[in-house]
């Protein structure tokens, strides 16, 4: 996927391509794993119905070793011409530039449990509205969690 995060600045995309082993991250949650498998299966059906290991008639995949086999490698997703949907917002990257909000679909239902980021201002809110999580380690003289171009974009939007 595009847009990784550094541990020190977990709310700031790094503008780089990042590989995530989603299966490893959600393997402890059967519900999430099922959703993930469904998503990949539908993607593969559209792209290539002959992918090895895919059970095309299986509408209710279960947690099993076979689910790993159906998961396409992350690189294939990165190569695809895809916009990254972050909550309601669609963010895409132009080469060498910071991610920019290019559209905003207000009609899309919002997942209350989602921690996804909707747009630039939401990046700031997610971080700044939780001062207790980071204030103790912040030296106000030397550290600020956001980059200049993000602040400039926020001021422009405001």
């Amino acid at each position: 996927m595009h847009g990784g995060f550094e541990n020190e600045t977990p709310n700031i995309p790094t503008n780089s391509i990042m590989k995530l082993d989603l299966i490893a991250h959600v393997k402890g949650n059967a519900q999430l794993l099922q959703k993930l498998e469904n998503a990949f299966q539908s993607h593969l059906k559209g792209a290539n119905s002959q992918v090895s290991g895919t059970k095309s008639n299986d509408n209710s995949p279960t947690l099993s070793n076979s689910s790993r086999a159906t998961t396409p490698p992350m690189q294939s997703l990165a190569k695809a011409n895809m916009k990254i949907r972050i909550g309601k917002g669609e963010i895409e990257q132009k080469k060498g530039q910071a991610p920019q909000v290019v559209s905003f679909n207000g009609n899309e239902p919002r997942d209350k449990n989602s921690k996804n980021i909707e747009s630039l201002h939401q990046l700031f809110l997610n971080h700044l509205l939780r001062p207790k999580e980071w204030s103790a380690s912040v030296d106000g003289q030397t550290y600020f969690a956001f980059r200049r171009d993000h602040i400039l974009a926020l001021a422009e939007e405001a």
Binding site: H121, Q122, F124, L125, L128, L129, P131, S135, G140, Q141, T142, Y143, F144, F146, R148, I151, L152, L154, A155, E156, E157, A158
Partner: protein, 288 residues
């Protein structure tokens, strides 16, 4: 306004969508977290445009916040040159130039940062001020004086001091542009505009809020332990549906060194405005 005090209050669960929030200015300078404060307010304004309302204070002015801490903070924390055209410092000050100078709540409560000074008579005067607006300190027009009055003036030191009085603290050179206004001015203004209260900030008050003009003007100041020196409480005012003004106290956290610029050198160079209870007589040093 101080970032950590604000978000210890009114509650940690957040009730932004249930109320309108009106901020009375001074979002930068003095403290160590101006960037957090203004970025949070801008993000909130974008996210909740009809619920978050930001008025302009006298520190939302590049000539002031260049000297009182914000430019230095941008330089130190972002590694930028504030004098560059495309600096964060300049961009945020461009945003400040668009902020409104006053607000009226339900045709009853006039809100502004400083006061009515010597020239604000009617609310129509405020409506006629065009934005973006650069604050001019060497006043040469009626409108420039009006802006300085709204952003810089204070009530007189007590209800016994009437009329227009010199403001020695903020105008040490005696230009006469920054004044104090008496309770008689307040009552005349309220009658002329058919409103009940003036709500303003601009001065540190010991309990976070203070009444003036027989309870017709409220000063509210949310920054606690101002400049790490005064141990004052802060406050916000909740306005009920029956238009009662209910103070909500914010108490100091005893972490001045984490929040305020407490080094002697910058404080000597840019001495803090004395709190309201010390506003008597001329100061030894002027602003530099």
């Amino acid at each position: 306004m101080r970032f950590f005090d604000l978000w210890g209050n009114p509650d940690e669960n957040g009730d932004i969508e249930s109320y309108d929030y009106l901020f009375l200015g001074d979002y930068v300078d003095r403290g160590n977290h101006s960037l957090e404060t203004i970025c949070l307010l801008m993000a909130l304004k974008i996210r909740f445009p009809d619920k978050i309302h930001l008025l302009r204070g006298n520190h939302e002015d590049k000539w002031i916040n260049n000297a009182f801490g914000f430019a230095e903070e941008c330089s130190n924390r972002l590694g930028e040159d504030p004098t560059e055209q495309d600096s964060v410092f300049n961009k945020i000050n461009d945003f400040f130039d668009w902020l409104p100078l006053a607000a009226v709540i339900e045709d009853r409560i006039v809100c502004l940062h400083g006061g009515i000074g010597s020239t604000l008579v009617s609310l129509e005067q405020v409506e006629q001020i065009k934005r973006p607006l650069e604050v001019i300190h060497e006043v040469s027009s009626v409108e420039q004086q009006l802006v300085v009055d709204i952003l810089w003036s204070d009530p007189t030191d007590s209800d016994n001091e009437l009329g227009i009085q010199p403001n020695f603290v903020r105008d040490p050179n005696g230009t006469g542009n920054i004044v104090k206004f008496g309770p008689d001015r307040v009552k005349t203004f309220l009658e002329n505009n058919k409103v009940n209260f003036i709500l303003r900030a601009h001065e540190c008050v010991m309990d976070g809020f203070e009444r003036f003009a027989g309870g017709c003007l409220f000063t509210v100041f949310s920054a606690t332990d101002y400049c790490g020196r005064h141990k004052n409480a802060g406050a916000m005012l909740q306005i009920t549906k029956s238009y009662e003004l209910v103070p909500k106290m914010i108490y100091p956290l005893n972490n001045a060194e984490d929040n305020w610029i407490t080094d002697d050198e910058p404080l000597n160079k840019r001495p803090p405005t004395p709190p309201r209870w010390q506003n008597q007589g001329p100061r030894n040093k002027s602003f530099e």
